[in-house]
Symmetry: C2
Subunit: 222 residues, 2 copies
Amino acid sequence: MFAQAATAPKLTVPFGAGQLHAEVRRAPASFSPDQPHQVMFYEANAEIYAQGEQATALYLVEFGAVRLYRLLADGRRQISAFHVAGEVFGFEADGQHHFFAEAVGQACIRVFRKPAGETNWRQTLAAALAALVRAQEHLLVIGRQNAAERVAAFLLDMMERQNSDCAVQLPMSRTDIGDYLGLTIETVSRTFSKFRSRGLVRLVNTRTVEILDAATLRAMCD
Amino acid sequence: MFAQAATAPKLTVPFGAGQLHAEVRRAPASFSPDQPHQVMFYEANAEIYAQGEQATALYLVEFGAVRLYRLLADGRRQISAFHVAGEVFGFEADGQHHFFAEAVGQACIRVFRKPAGETNWRQTLAAALAALVRAQEHLLVIGRQNAAERVAAFLLDMMERQNSDCAVQLPMSRTDIGDYLGLTIETVSRTFSKFRSRGLVRLVNTRTVEILDAATLRAMCD
DNA sequence: CGCCTCATTGATTCTACTCAATTCGGGTGG
DNA sequence: CCACCCGAATTGAGTAGAATCAATGAGGCG
């Protein structure tokens, strides 16, 4: 199950600037480390679990980011969620994973083997409900909003999940963003460019966006 | 909170033909009636709870159907889920409802006042996980599938949630279906017509669809 | 019978997709 | 240090699919 995870994390430069430290600060969240657990290190794009596998654990992101996704037969991909430091993922209703989970960049993940549910069920329920709310919010974005509104919502969401104001780190590629928002990479890129030309954002580099006018972006979403 | 719910259910013709009886058979599901509860009857389109309200209960559909939805500022609506007999809804992460819940047609709903969580948390978690899986599956449909694939998935889903083969009852209007699938009513209607002309379904009336070729519909979805 | 709402069908517009061509950025090796 | 390479991102041109605008048709109820 963890074949692709390096057992000896080569922490050459796992921490970049600013934001990753902010993530680390947020990490000690709901699940307490007094549960039996194991900390795993994953290289970029390493598989954490696959669709169809038995669900035997819950996962807490320590640093880095994770994408959950499914594939259609013809290769179309839908990312249902990104999870960043401090968030829990991996619950399934029938003991089987219905999605793939992969590290977006290098990621460190605390794995809680089951059955821990009897003791920390309240935390499990809280995490599941948080995921449910997130999925439902995302349904609204994908179902009824246009490209600009989707990208605006995404940027604001990423901004709020990081503690930094304005400078948002995007651990994921444009392809990831497109598959998350139900758009093509071209549309994502064009929308970024339009936001830039309207003075709403500054594209520092491909993975860093500075939010210049959060109010206008917010007004687009709702 | 329950202003629009009739306290004395006038059960003149609440049960229609076949399918509703099938729903009733499926009703006694996860939540046991030995919890303190109250059975409420709702007229069509009656509000069960509103966005922003305090979440004080869980809801088990006895018969009928319920829609959960949110509105954008300009009136666009996204239905995140339909719930039919035997299903539980109403959990929220932070004690506040993030969605509206309304009866689609006449509906009967068992209301479990909190805090019952301490005793039946396992059932609550199971129901929340079921809702999560459903929302995630729906994300895939809305994010990456075209109109025909969405409608096909919807029809198959409704068929599987009813015990009847082939003849599917649709308690909801075309507008509801559109707002659930992220499509306009015109597109929904056109897609139904295309399915009919291809011999995949028979449109018995506006609220009844006979599935003639489930295999082809299934092949469209994945 | 007529009214009203919902559903269907048609004509047109527009958004986002597709296909294609550069451009950018990071890494490697000379 | 610089030239080169490769994948990712951006930009452009044309197209397809769903939305929009509009008209007609089908039920349900007073």
